[in-house]
Subunit: 343 residues, 2 copies
C-alpha cells in the first residue's frame, strides 16, 4: 500500500503526489517495454502474433501509456504545457497502434462465441442456466461459413495490425516516446504552479466532465429493458458506426480519465470503487459489442457470399446490437447505485 | 350489466349460470354468422380478403367459438358428455380455419413494421421517443427486397387461407357446427349434475392448471432483462418452431380458459382484471413474435435470394426473437403484480 496517498488532504503537496504517480507509471511503461523486447515482441521472425508474455507486455505498455496520457490531460495546469501537449498525441498513437492487434483478436473471439451461442452449441450464461448443456456442435452451414469468413477477415486485419505494431515499435517515433517516458521516470516536468496548487479541483473537474456527459445520455430509455433502440438503424444503408453510440463511447473515455485521476489522488492500490468498475465494464462491453456488430455488418457486404452466410451475419449483427442495448441497461444499473447510497 | 351474475354465491344455481353464458355466446355466434353472410363473407366473387365488416364478423365468430369451446372444456362435468366432446373439435377446427387468414395479415404487418423500424424509417415506441422523427424512407435494398419477399409469401398464404375459410364456411361440416350452436342458443344440454353442482371448483381447477403451468415457466431468467435466451437457437439447423416457446404458448391457452371461466362466473360485462389482460397481451405478443421470427427464417430459405435480402431477414429474425424475450419479461412483470397485492 502506498500509505502516503491514502489521505490526499493530509499527504504531500500536489506536485509530489502527481510526480510520484507519473514516475510509477513511467517505470511500469519501461518495465513492460523491456519485457516486450525480451519475449520477442519486436521480432517479426515468428510471423505469429506473439507469445502470451508478449501479449501481457503489450497490454502493460498500453495500460501505462493510457494512464500517463490521461494524467497529463487532467492535471495539465500542473505540468509543463509544451512538453505535455507534445507527449499526449504520441502516447495516444502508441497505445492505439498496440491496441489494434488485441482488439481484432478479442472481436473475433466475441463473434465466434456469439455464433456458437446462437447455434445452441455452448452453455448459456450462468445466471440463466439451469442444467449444463452437453449438445454437440450443430453449427448450420450458414453459421459455419459466417464464422470462417469472420475468421479470415479478422485474422487478416490482426496480422496487419501486428505488422503495424512491430513497425511502430521499431520506428524513431517510438524511440522518441520511449525516451520521453524515460525522462519522466526520473524527473517530471512540473509547472511552477505545481508546488502550491491542489489536485482536488482538477480531479473534480474531470469528474464534472464525466457527470455532465452522463447527464446527456438517454438513461431513461436505457432503463426500460427491451426498448429496441440499439437496433433502430440495424438495417440502415449507412455502414458507418452508429451515431447513437458516440455519446456512450465518450462517457467511457471520461470515466477512464476520472478513474485515473482517482488513482493519482488515492494511489493505485487503494480499494477499487466497485461502482466505477462495473460502470466501466459495461461501457467496455458496449464498445466491444458495437464494434463486433459493425464487423458482422461489414462481413455481410463481402461480394459473392452465400445467402445462408449473409443470414447468419444478420442474426449476429442484431445479436450484438442487442448486446449494445443490454450494456447500456447494465451501465445505468451500475451508475445509479450511487443515488441509493450503496457503495 | 348482467346483474344476476355479479355475485355467483348469491346468484342462480350453476346450471342456470352456465346455460345463460352458453346461450349468450351461441347467440353472438349466430349473429356474427348472419353478419358475415350479409357482408359477403361467403362469396368468393370479389377474390379479395373481405370488407372490414366481414373481418369484424369473422373475428366475432372466432371469439364466440373459442368461448363456447373453452366453456365446454372447463365445465365438462355439468354438460352432456357425448355432445360436448363431439362439439369441441368442430369449434376448434372452425376457429382455427377462420383465424389463419387474419394471422397471415397480422404477421405481415408486424414484419413490415419491424423492417421499417430497423431501417430507422418509423417513430420508435412512444416510451423511448423524445422528438418525433421525420426521416424519409431509407430502406436499404436488402430490407426492401426482404419486405417484398415476405409480402409475396404472406399474401399467397393469406389468399390460400381465405379460400380455405370460404370453402369451410360452405361445407356441410360447418353447417353441422352452426346447427349445433343454434341448438345451444335455445337449449343447453346440461348433465343431471348441473342442477346441484357448483361452478366454483371447476373454475378453480382451470385456474389451478394455469398457475401450475406458470410455475413451470423459467420466470427467474425471464426476469433478468437481456438474458439472451430467446435467441439461443437463433441459428440452429432446425427450422421448426422453437421447443422453448411451447410452455409459453400453453400458458397462453390456459390463461384464456381461466378468463372465460371467470366470464361464466362473473358475467362478460364485469370489470376486466387488468392483470389478466396485460398478462394475456404479453403472451399474444410472444406468440405473434415467435411466429413472425419463424416466418423470417423460412423466407431466408427461399432459393436464389440475394445475400442482402438474407442479411435483412437474419436481422429481422433476431429482432423478433428479442421481441419474444421482451414479451416473456413483460408477462412476468404483469403476472407478478398479484403477489404485491396490486389489483
Amino acid at each position: 500500500m502506498a500509505k502516503q496517498h491514502l489521505d490526499p488532504a493530509a499527504g504531500p503537496v500536489a506536485g509530489d503526489t502527481l510526480e510520484a504517480y507519473l514516475q510509477n507509471q513511467a517505470t511500469e511503461f519501461l518495465r513492460a517495454l523491456r519485457q516486450h523486447r525480451e519475449t520477442g515482441g519486436t521480432s517479426s521472425n515468428g510471423g505469429g502474433n506473439g507469445t502470451e508474455e508478449t501479449v501481457d507486455a503489450a497490454r502493460a505498455l498500453r495500460r501505462s501509456a493510457r494512464r500517463i496520457s490521461g494524467t497529463l490531460h487532467t492535471f495539465r495546469p500542473l505540468l509543463d504545457t509544451d512538453w505535455s501537449e507534445g507527449m499526449r498525441p504520441e502516447l495516444a498513437w502508441l497505445s492505439g497502434t498496440l491496441a489494434r492487434e488485441h482488439a481484432y483478436a478479442a472481436r473475433l473471439d466475441r463473434l465466434l462465441g456469439a455464433l456458437n451461442r446462437l447455434s445452441g452449441c455452448s452453455p448459456i450464461p450462468a445466471q440463466a442456466a439451469s442444467e449444463p448443456r452437453q449438445e454437440k456442435s450443430t453449427l448450420t452451414v450458414g453459421a459455419a461459413k459466417a464464422g470462417a469468413l469472420l475468421e479470415r477477415q479478422m485474422t487478416l486485419a490482426r496480422t496487419r495490425a501486428h505488422s503495424a505494431a512491430l513497425q511502430a515499435l521499431g520506428s524513431s517515433r517510438f524511440h522518441a516516446v520511449a525516451d520521453s517516458v524515460a525522462v519522466l521516470a526520473s524527473e517530471v516536468p512540473l509547472s511552477p504552479a505545481a508546488s502550491s496548487a491542489d489536485l482536488k479541483p482538477l480531479a473534480a473537474a474531470a469528474e464534472g466532465r464525466l457527470t455532465d456527459a452522463i447527464a446527456g445520455l438517454p438513461l431513461v430509455s436505457a432503463g426500460h429493458p427491451y426498448n429496441a433502440e440499439a437496433l433502430v438503424h440495424g438495417l440502415s444503408a449507412d455502414p458507418a458506426p452508429q451515431p447513437q453510440d458516440a455519446p456512450w463511447h465518450q462517457v467511457r473515455l471520461l470515466l477512464r480519465l476520472h478513474r485515473y485521476a482517482r488513482e493519482v489522488m488515492y494511489g493505485t492500490e487503494s480499494p477499487v470503487d466497485v461502482r466505477l468498475l462495473n460502470a466501466g465494464q459495461a461501457l467496455d462491453r458496449h464498445r466491444d459489442a458495437a464494434e463486433a456488430a459493425t464487423a458482422a455488418a461489414s462481413a455481410a457486404r463481402t461480394p459473392r457470399i452465400a445467402p445462408a452466410t449473409a443470414y447468419a451475419l444478420g442474426v449476429l449483427h442484431a445479436d450484438q446490437r442487442h448486446e449494445v442495448e443490454a450494456a447500456r441497461f447494465a451501465f445505468r444499473q451500475a451508475w445509479l447505485k450511487e443515488t441509493v447510497g450503496t457503495s
